[in-house]
């Protein structure tokens, strides 16, 4: 009997761990920012979500056999503007010290030169993409979209807390 109870307890513990993990993740998201730093972190996340959505729209379009040129060139402009605005999304105090759930590493602020050059890479590649998008060469657009994504990844690898896998 003792064995079955242990087994049951283990199963319940495992179940609770899964549910608990989900709830704590949801809680983190729901917490509204109150401080200026927290608000800036929140705005930054919204901006990145929009940038992600714009880039995804480009990538999704380029997956198609006949991508819409209009959609791509509009998105390319949005992407470039977003990349240009990006440096303003990281005011001092909006890092981990803001107590708002952020994946921005302190290195964004402690190594500003390296961070600025990582951002610059995105701006350069996004500008190139805009030019190529205007040319209508789909193959070149596909290749350049990889280059743009590579700069996202390059910056994330150094300045964003890695995701749990």
């Amino acid at each position: 009997m003792a064995f079955q109870k242990t087994l049951l307890a283990l199963c319940i513990a495992a179940g609770l761990a899964i549910v608990g993990g989900g709830v704590s993740a949801a809680e983190q998201k729901a917490k509204a920012p109150t401080t200026p730093g927290g608000k800036a972190a929140y705005t930054r996340q919204e901006n990145f979500k929009q940038q992600g959505a714009v880039f995804k729209a480009i990538r999704d379009e380029l997956k198609k056999d006949a991508p819409s040129m209009a959609l791509i060139s509009t998105s390319a402009v949005k992407l470039k503007n977003s990349a240009d605005a990006l440096p303003t999304w990281f005011p001092k105090g909006s890092g981990p010290e803001s107590k708002y759930a952020t994946d921005a590493k302190p290195e964004v602020w402690t190594d500003p030169v390296k961070f600025a050059s990582a951002v610059k890479r995105l701006q350069v590649e996004a500008t190139k993409f805009q030019t190529i998008a205007a040319s209508g060469d789909i193959g070149a657009m596909r290749a350049q979209s990889q280059a743009v994504g590579g700069t996202c990844k390059g910056c994330h690898d150094s300045f964003r807390v890695p995701e749990e896998k």
């Binding site: 009997m1 064995f3 079955q4 087994l7 283990l10 199963c11 495992a14 761990a17 899964i18 993990g21 989900g22 993740a25 979500k49 992600g52 959505a53 880039f55 995804k56 990538r59 999704d60 997956k63 990889q146 994504g149 590579g150 996202c152 990844k153 994330h156 964003r160 995701e163 749990e164 896998k165």
Partner: protein, 227 residues
Amino acid sequence: MAGERLDTPKVRAKLWDGPTRIVHWALVILMGFAWWSVEANQTEWHLWAGYGILGLILFRLIWGFAGSASARFTSFVKGPITTLAYAKTLSRRSAGDMAGHNPLGGWSVVAILAAILSQVVTGLFAVDVDGLESGPLSDRVSFETGRLFSKWHDLSFTAIKLLVVLHLSAIAFYALHKRANLIMPMITGYKSFETDPKLRFAPLWLAALGAGAAAAVTWWVMKGLRL
């Protein structure tokens, strides 16, 4: 329990057919490979592993309805009363003469298959944070929904890891407490029985047909549900 009678001559009989064993071990290899490849940032390989796993799971589901007796869901998915009755006999030091999954093991199979299926499906819609490597169906959802699928993909993997630990613990328990080797039959397909269970096995052409169907659906999903 028949298992306690040492004077009875044992008969070696086939328990698990080839397709079931291949699916089992291929899943072990591909799940391990998928885990390794994502940790190593080899997302393209991770996607290939995912397609392989999708094909295997689809085949296993087909085989669970149309395959050999010991692989069929109807042969091992039992109701709560039977499952509870079996659970009460767990502490006995004999595994009995059951041909195939016991009622608890049956539910473990269902749970693992469900977890792997949810792992694959969440992966199909997942969007990575760089927007570079995304699931083949991610263009059907928004960026934020895709990111959410990515989180569920992660959560679902935690569930798989827990189920694998439970699976391995159960195998260790049967080996140590009940002196029953569950691993060898899954490798060779054969097990010793008190009496030959005379299981019915599905023909190879049916396995080929099922594999073809699973591969076709997987191909279709890979192509983003476009023909």
